[in-house]
Amino acid sequence: MYKLLKIFHIDHVMVCIIVFLVLKYFPYFFQVDFLNPIQNIMQDFDVTNIVFSSLNDKKTIKTDTNIVLVNIGYLKRDGLAKQVEILNKWKPKVIALDIMFFKHKTKELDSVFANSISKVENLVLASRLNVDTNCKDCEEEDDPDKRFDDVTNPIDIFGKYGYQGFVTLNVEKPWEEVERTFYPEVNIKGKHLISFAVAAARQFDSIKADGFLGRENRSEIVNFRRNTDKYLTLDWDDVFKKQDSLGFLKDKIILMGFLGPDLKTKTLEDIFFTPMNAKYIGRSFPDMYGVVIHANIISMILDGKFYNRNSVIWSHVLSFIIIYLNVLLFSFIRKYDIDLYETVSLLIILVELVLYWVIILAVLNFFRFEINMVGQFYGLCLITTSYEAYHDSIKPISLKVFGRFRKLISRKNVKES
């Protein structure tokens, strides 16, 4: 048996090299214009979507009562000032405004609003990170310090009353990308900035927020568990109509932001595709407003339920090991009984592909750990073809060509001698 199983052999390495070469250059095939539809779908697919969209049992997820979402609708600054005043009356712990206050309006409107927010004890305002337009590879860049080169803060008359956190999310084109991760903190031009959600969570529970930042991850997977139905949500007019009965706001985090003209009408403003979308791949309508994404991040920080993932290097190493082990197994089967090889190798790959999905989904779902092995999935799909192409075509043809070449040379030498 051991004789059959030659663990280290140049042929095995060669097959692995072929698999990796095909993996590297195969995507170029899909860059042809007429295969765009398939490429688009393959790009969008992410295993986390299945967990957040289908596997998480939404019925078991409880409403997060620490956070109250307030829709600002189309209110202007005077209306917002009234909203803040009413909400602040009920002594919430934090009021965080996911609203851009980057420009002055009329003096009257500005002063009314400034006066209103000046009374809030723990206020968080939104700032925005600006992408470095000179950075060439910034779309693929996962380092926020390189991707962004500037920050836009709220105007001073508002900014001085609160803490600031950037509301910028990871996706650059929310109309064709799924929001999965976010940057907890960035360093721009020597300034250390934290995200809006982290800033709000810090005002509520600084130990948990600092513990989260202590993970020192450049980007974090958002633990998407709730949409507006799993948060206490107030429409813009509810605040005015029910202003005398909002006692439940005491000691809560109030997140004010745009949730549509009213809660029933969905629009395309400040809305994102998230992995919670009922349809986790392909075309669908965007499913979550920006302010709800911030709410999910805050919930994640307060619950302490974070996602971890393996590094890219580990992913490559793991892929190589698995592909190599398969090559080894195939060689063993071929030597043991060549008749069995074709059928058994297909079955093995089929079982492995099923196992691959089961393991990845289970680990992600139960241990909140994302095994980053997309390359390995395609590697498994390609392995039998590469193995057979090498052993049954490339190798014998090369040996024949080499043999003939050697014969030719030896004849030449005989003639010369």
Partner: protein
């Protein structure tokens, strides 16, 4: 050499049967609920969508000057009456209102004005929405229509593009020229409007007797579009209405890079013109879809669909031919088999896609080749599994049984 081609053999037949059995099982496996979105997405993929979004040069598509679209989103009944009155003065061929008109209790005078103007004109068609599709009996059970006190006996046409599919997830590719309601036959809003413009062209469509007609898309930028406020203000050229079809409803460009609260997700559809077939925003309003359909009817540029028998025959044929070819290569050039079979698969797939695009663009013929490509990929695996594994194992097993040996 070709004499050695073994075309009609039992082995080739069996291999082809195995390929289609696996294709059948594969489809069943995808029916698990977790994979539902994946299945829906794969079902929704049409490679020919690319023809509309990328391959056809937009500048080569001619503008349709027979149709004028008026963006009249959130228009009041009073303004609608004023708008129709202005348009009528310019002698249009017809007016289509893609809106369910209800009474405005805050403005009864506006309602009266609208009632008068609508009932006074005979070339108005109003949208009607059919609901509760009964898949078993193939008809709609309900409908939503405008208030009869206002529209009276004005002609209506159904504005449905789907039977019961969820428009949030499905790319709109076809229209329904005629559908059945419980006690009635309903003609589409767009077909009725096309009848006003060119009855012969509309009759040609109806004579095709197809329950679904593939839309030949022009896009949204090939129709003249105006805002109703400009027209009521008198800021327009009369020529944009005379002898034309005027469609009233929501008509504006969905600009993803400048998201706006204006784009309420209510009457928006995904069309093949949307470049991104993955995660993307819907790209066209219902009114614009109707304009595209009318344009297709008037120009008579219909797509012909692949007959059912060809849909099944093509993959079988491709698969069987592959089995014959692989068998030949395997017999005569064993060393070259593995590489050449991969090469043949890639070449065949490209060729099939090329033929599909050629038929689609040049002959307006929808050739479905995805089944054939899938069969082609599987034929590669099944050929090897059968020839080098299944057959020898069975053969040896039978030999042993004949000799009375243990298996």
């Amino acid at each position: 050499m070709l004499k050695n081609l073994k075309i009609f053999t039992f082995d080739n037949f069996i291999k082809t049967v195995i390929v289609f059995a696996i294709m059948f099982l594969f489809e069943k496996a995808f029916n698990i609920s977790v994979f539902e979105p994946l299945r829906l997405t794969l079902d929704d993929v049409e490679i020919t969508d690319n023809a509309f979004s990328s391959i056809i040069e937009r500048s080569t598509i001619s503008a349709d000057t027979n149709i004028t679209l008026i963006n009249s989103e959130n228009i009041s009944n009073r303004d609608l009456a004023a708008l129709i009155a202005i348009i009528e003065q310019c002698a249009p061929k017809g007016i289509g209102i893609e809106k369910i008109i209800n009474k405005d209790f805050s403005d009864p005078i506006g309602d009266i004005e609208l009632t008068q103007i609508i009932n006074h004109n005979k070339n108005i068609i109003i949208n009607k929405i059919l609901t509760n599709f009964n898949r078993e009996h193939n008809y709609f059970n309900g409908y939503i229509v405008s208030d009869s006190d206002i529209v009276g006996a004005t002609s209506t046409g159904h504005g449905n593009f789907y039977f019961d599919e969820n428009k949030q997830f499905i790319t709109l590719r076809t229209c329904l020229p005629i559908v059945h309601s419980k006690d009635n036959i309903d003609t589409a809003f767009s077909v009725k409007l096309a009848m006003l413009l060119n009855p012969e062209a509309a009759k040609k469509l109806l004579s095709r007797k197809l329950s679904r007609e593939t839309i030949n898309w022009k896009g949204t930028d090939k129709f003249l579009t105006e805002n109703y406020k400009n027209i009521i203000a008198g800021d327009f050229d009369k020529n944009i209405f005379s002898n034309k079809l005027v469609l009233l409803g929501i008509s504006k460009k969905v600009d993803a890079e400048a998201p706006s609260d204006e784009y309420a997700l209510k009457d928006l559809y995904f069309t093949p013109l949307q470049k991104n077939s993955g995660v993307s925003w819907p790209d066209m309003y219902g009114l614009q879809v109707h304009a595209n359909i009318i344009s297709m009817i008037i120009e008579g540029n219909y797509f012909n669909q692949m007959p059912r028998w060809l849909f099944y025959l093509l993959p079988i044929l491709v698969c069987y031919c592959n089995m014959v070819l692989f068998g030949f290569i395997c017999d005569k050039f064993r060393d070259w088999y593995e590489l050449s079979s991969i090469f043949i698969f890639v070449l065949e797939s490209i060729l099939l896609l090329f033929i599909m695009y050629y038929c689609f663009l040049i002959y307006l013929f929808e050739l479905k080749v995805t089944g054939a490509i899938f069969a082609c990929a599987l034929s590669l695996m099944i050929f090897e599994a059968y020839t080098f594994s299944i057959k020898p194992i069975i053969f040896h097993g039978l030999k042993k049984i004949n000799k009375g040996e243990k298996l």
